[in-house]
Amino acid sequence: MTGRLQDGVTIFLGVLIEAIPFLLLGVLVSQLLARVSRSERGFTWLPRGRLASLASMAGLGALFPVCECGNVPVARRLVTRGVPVAAAMVFLLSAPALNPVVALSTWAAFREEPSIVLYRLGFTFVIAVGVGLLLSLHPRPAALLNPRWTKAAAEDDGAHEGEGPVRRFARGALAEFVEMGAVLVVGAALAALVQTVVPRQALLGIGQGPVVSVAAMMLLAVALSVCSTVDAFVALAYAGTFTNGSLVAFLVFGPMIDIKAILLMLTIFSARAVALVALVVAEAVFLVGLGLNYFAG
């Protein structure tokens, strides 16, 4: 076997072994939510106003300090439990970055430049809530969901009533783990492929251009698909060569939109909704990166 193929396999398995614990944690939380919140009252504790309820979903990430792979099962459960589609999207976009673990790891990596931590958290919040407001204007929120999944979720909720709680929990967790795991495998394979094929020096040549560096770091975030809890350390490797705006763009964009996240989002939302959100987020992050490079020095 050639060295490149061998390294590709190691990276592929590395991403999976790294992500599976977080995925499983998310699946277990989702199954717990499914059992605990069986009552009809659901999520009545959400604030009434549109902006307030979306903003509070952005804060929910603090309670689920896991990466994007763990949040998708939780978001799916929130939707089946009656949380508005736009609010679930806000949760998905913000939770991977707006939580104490990520704040801490970003601060640990960028102690020299604490403003990067503040920019990361602040812009993640603003962009996530902004996308949520946009989606909440949709006349038929149900159309934003993946039709195949809504059907399956409806059937699943009613079935298997005669089962004991442990078995039902295990069955639900297994089904969810296998479904999301398969998506994760594809994401890990793509990340490994990009890593072994695209020379990193090709990206590094463009680190100082105020515009092109932002685009390059956003592409890198999509391609690498590193978990949000540690991506700050990855960004650090580029701190000397890349503009600050591009580093913030990497840190804000990566947890929201990367190969893994997109594939996992498609299991809940329709392809059109995911494409729209990815586009809006990409534009917003790009503008943030440019703004920082030109105005924040």
Partner: protein, 224 residues
Amino acid sequence: MTAPLLALGYGAYLVQAYARGVLYVYIHPIYVLPALVTGLILVALGAVGLAARRRAHDGPSWTATALLALPLALGFLLPPAPLGLASAAQRGLDLEPAASGEVVPVAGPPESFTIKDWINTFQADPEPMRHAGKPVRVTGFVVKDGRLPEGWFLVARFIVQCCAVDAQPIGLVVRPPAGASPAGGAWVAVDGVVDVAEVGGERRPIVGATTVAPTDPPAQPYLY
């Protein structure tokens, strides 16, 4: 029955990989224990699922099964191999690596320094002459580089923050003793002293090696 079997497969894979100590090839040590716990939970879930014996139509799709079986097959059938030359070339090895985080002078006897410790030391005090003569004893893999004089090489390791996906290679320039010419990618133990030489148009600290001995990759192949 497919979902419980897949969970059992993944659980068994993680537990045996932990027991054999090969998880270090893939992930940072802080994630090794979570990987083991995950393996145990998956085994338990799989066992409960098998015992439940639900109807066949519960199972996952063929695509999902095939996708999940692929990494299991790779993990069980192929010997675990730490990242090597191909990734070092793809990611690029700097003759003068950028500082990762704040530069802290490394304490302790120089003989115990890793390649990463040396690079931090050289960055904390960039004047090469002040390091000349310090004893060096490091382990890494050999990377040949066109910027170096004939026969010289870099002894390299990867720095890993999370998992193999973010591995970044670093290396020290080595001037081998006469007769030693290890192949690219081979793991070697290098003994020698810090010397100063002009490499790639700049005066740099290098390792004037007295011995270059072939060795096995360490159990923890990366530096953190």
